[in-house]
Amino acid sequence: MRRSFRALGLVLPGTPQLLEGRRREGWLALATWAGVGALLLWRRDRLNDALAGPWDLRLAVATAVVGMVGVWLWSWREARREAAGKSAGGMRWAPTANLFSERRLAVAGTLAVAVLYLVALLAPLLAPFDPGAQGDLVRERFLAPSVEHPLGTDNLARDVLSRLLYGARISLAVGLLAVTISVTVGTTVGAVAGYLGGRADAIIMRFVDVVISFPRLVLLIAIVAVFEPGILVIILVLGLTLWPSTARLVRGEVLSLREQDFVLAARALGLPRRRILARHIIPNALGPVIVAATLGMGNTIVLEAGLSFLGLGVQAPLASWGAMVDAGRANLLGAWWISTFPGLAIVGTVLAFNLVGEGLRDALDPRHRE
């Protein structure tokens, strides 16, 4: 019986799990696999020139293929592991993972984030039009949503849906990279300050205070004015202005961890400081950092939108969602669809990240356990 499940998994991934009663995972695998497959089938005309095509189309095709193969491999391995009677996942994070997966909203958020990244990567395959292609400038501007343009057209007769799909790449990339920078810097600085203590701590934290009490908008606008507001500058600026709060958080965690028995024990054993910090303290302080990072993704996307609202965001013709809201805002009363849909996309994305973040917080926080 088990063996035949596995055989089925070779054809249709997810089916072994479905038959074993793990419905959620089974349906998810099957739907992803079928969805991506259908997309490739539908867009097969674009596949021909994919290899010689632009990098983003190649990346999209690669994502689709890797995704399908990945789901298929996962399903097969899971079925085999099930057959061997092993449980999934490592021990350390298992309780957290379980708590997390009990929260339906958090799981929904995670799924939404996954779908968003998939959409961003697959944009060249999904978008019905070239996001930069201008239609007939006299007759096709400001078209209301219709079958041909499901979300309407904008001030230059471009398809809003296509621009929205491509815009996901910019907004998500900005969020991800900026948060990576801020978390890396913030964790390092905070951990060092907290563990060293004394004068080093005082100096570092005073500096953090200065950066935090700095009117961020001044910094953002000034820096964007100095450099051309390219996408890299925006990412760097957002990343480098967000780290101090992470640093504070980590320092607090480290301060309390420092006095705990296992650290004292490690110290008594004469382990070097760097090792204690890297192996014993930081991993245990990571929970809140992960939460902060997830919530920070949302904040960063909103901030980028705000910069775009001031005209200082990513440059045209690349369009982040914020820039799209900005471009449509003056004509909000006449062509509401130009600003409204990218706005909803921002809200949906940020909400998804926040749901994940909240779920993680609850799962990691012992207070919230029953």
Partner: protein, 569 residues
């Protein structure tokens, strides 16, 4: 509200008294307190003395909205922004003359004027019934003072070109009697133009101020005292200016305006402005963007349109390759479908520009010169001729040395129209094998890259120009001004130079016309800029505000005749 602001001023004065280190501030507060008190008492007296005429058109408050503040307020000596100028010329202050709809000077503060035989002395006879709002009479000394102030380089008057052909020495302006004043000049075309633009300032309030200190004087934005049809009542920064009807305004000039109060509101968001107009919060929406035009009419307001003095153009940096080659500049113009730009970015509210001379100018020559209409194939031929060919088949032309025909098209951040133009041009030029990168730069940064003759860091930039009624394009086109801030193209053409030098001095229009024709053709040959279009300016007017009549002179031209429908008041 005024009482509150007065208390506030007093508090500031106390605060300064305490540390005693800022005498300037103390003076400012004292100045304003005195000025406002005088104006209030004079106006109270005038109101009691002069009853509101019995006509249903008198009364009510009209609210005007725009995204901008009146940056310079009523300080006419340092004003360069359009809105402040309009309020100075038509609302709070007075000019010596006003243009009528045909742009012929008509008496206003000056009852009459004459020039001597060889046009070297211009004499004004002023009205004797115009009072500053604090009760002081407006006389010849005010005119002489204002003239001396704006021609003093220390003042940094933003429009010195107005007085290029006027005498600038101390004795060039003479007070002949209380109401007669004269200035010396050299004969030149349209010499009356400065006098419809420059509002007269009160000598009795500002006479003691050093020209270099005038910019920071509280008169401008805190407590202006004018002599026009509306009296300054209140200014809240970033929010509103409030003006009240002047009952003592001369009967002969129309007397007290119909409106009781005129409010200028600053609303930075265009969607909000439109919502305010359509929900009754605004009576006049100044400078409606073209894509809101449809909503204004659909929402039950009235849309007015008029030719503005704005010219939109692309400046090619002729100091750089490939723009130093006139064939390339010409080809780039031919490859841009300007009619489509007018139809799309302006929604049809505007006209193609073929030179700097606007349609409202008497010497305007309609239609493109030979070989200037949209012609992408012609553009291709010109580029071929100039050596730019697509040699490697990638869709972009290269020079014989293999350099790509690519450049960056820059515009200022926050200007949606220019962003649209840039993106459309990018697409259109792409079809003739020119690779365009668009770039938006924050305005202040852009200014430092454009105007500093040592920097000039740009390939091509989309920019605008406001034409005065007396045209003077030397800053844009004359090779003498190559080091000036506005020589964005930096090309040099002896024929254009000669015309630019001659045109201002030819007084007789029939003699000038062939020169103007030649001037417009010469611009087409040199092609320092690609002139895109003359946009129209749109105004949204609510149903209850009557008598608004906008034209090229501006929106406030006949503000004295605006009135509110009594049934909708």
């Amino acid at each position: 509200m005024r009482a509150v602001s007065r208390i506030f001023l007093v508090l500031v004065a106390w605060g300064c008294d305490g540390d005693g280190s800022r005498p300037g501030e103390l003076d400012a507060a004292a100045f304003c307190e005195a000025a406002i008190a005088d104006a209030e008492s004079f106006m109270a007296g005038a109101r009691a003395r002069l009853p509101v005429p019995a006509d249903e058109r008198y009364g009510g408050t009209a609210v005007v909205g725009n995204i901008a503040e009146l940056i310079s307020g009523m300080n006419a000596a340092i004003t360069s922004d359009y809105l402040s100028l309009q309020y100075q010329q038509f609302v709070n202050l007075m000019t010596l003359v006003q243009y009528d709809a045909d742009l012929t000077p008509q008496p206003y503060l000056a009852r009459s004027w004459e020039v001597n035989e060889d046009t070297t002395r211009l004499t004004f006879h002023l009205r004797d019934d115009v009072y500053w709002h604090d009760g002081e009479r407006t006389d010849a000394r005010d005119v002489a003072f204002t003239y001396s102030l704006v021609t003093d380089p220390e003042t940094a008057f933003p429009n010195p070109a107005f007085f290029d052909f006027y005498g600038r020495e101390a004795d060039d302006v003479r007070v002949l009697d209380d109401f007669t004043v004269s200035v010396t000049l050299r004969p030149h075309a349209e010499f009356m133009d400065p006098w419809r633009a420059l509002a007269i300032l009160p000598e009795h309030l500002l006479g003691e101020v050093a020209p270099g200190d005038i910019a920071a004087h509280p008169f401008g934005s805190r407590c202006p005292v004018g002599n026009g049809p509306f009296v300054f009542a209140e200014h809240r920064p970033q929010d509103r200016w409030v003006f009240e009807a002047n009952p003592a305004f001369p009967e002969e000039l129309g007397g007290r305006p119909f409106l009781d109060r005129l409010v200028h509101r600053v609303v930075p968001e265009q969607a909000t402005l439109l919502a305010e107009l359509l929900t009754g919060g605004l009576d006049l929406y100044i400078d409606v963007p073209t894509y809101q035009a449809g909503q204004v009419a659909e929402g039950g307001a009235i849309l007015q349109r008029f030719a503005s003095r704005q010219l939109e153009y692309v400046a090619w940096n002729g100091r750089r390759e490939p723009f130093s080659d006139v064939r390339v500049r010409r080809a780039l113009t031919l490859a841009v479908d300007r009619q489509e730009l007018v139809e799309s970015t302006l929604g049809g509210f505007g006209r193609i520009a073929h030179s700097t001379v606007p349609p409202f100018h008497w010497a305007y020559r309609p239609g493109p010169a030979e070989g200037e209409a949209f012609d992408p194939e012609g553009a291709g031929r010109l580029l071929d001729e100039a050596g730019w060919r697509d040699r490697d088949g990638d869709g972009v032309r290269e020079s014989p040395e293999g350099e790509r025909l690519a450049f960056t098209l820059t515009y200022n951040t926050g200007n949606q129209r220019r962003q649209d133009i840039a993106e459309i041009m990018q697409a259109q030029l792409g079809t003739v094998g020119v690779a365009v990168r668009t770039e938006s730069v924050e305005p202040a940064s852009l200014a430092s890259r454009l105007f500093d003759p040592e920097v000039r860091d740009y390939d091509a930039v989309i920019f605008g120009w406001i034409t005065e009624f007396r045209m003077d394009d030397r800053d844009l086109l004359h090779s003498d001004r190559g080091a000036g801030p506005f020589a964005l193209s930096g090309t040099s053409n002896p024929r254009l130079d000669r015309l630019l030098d001659t045109l201002p001095l030819v007084v007789d229009r029939s003699r000038a016309r062939p020169l103007w024709d030649e001037y417009q053709r010469a611009q087409g040959e040199e092609h320092p800029y690609t002139f895109l279009f003359f946009p129209e300016r749109l105004t949204g007017v609510s149903q209850r505000l009557k008598g608004v009549d906008t034209d090229v002179r501006g929106e406030w031209t006949n503000v004295r005749g605006w009135w509110i429908d009594p049934d909708l008041r």
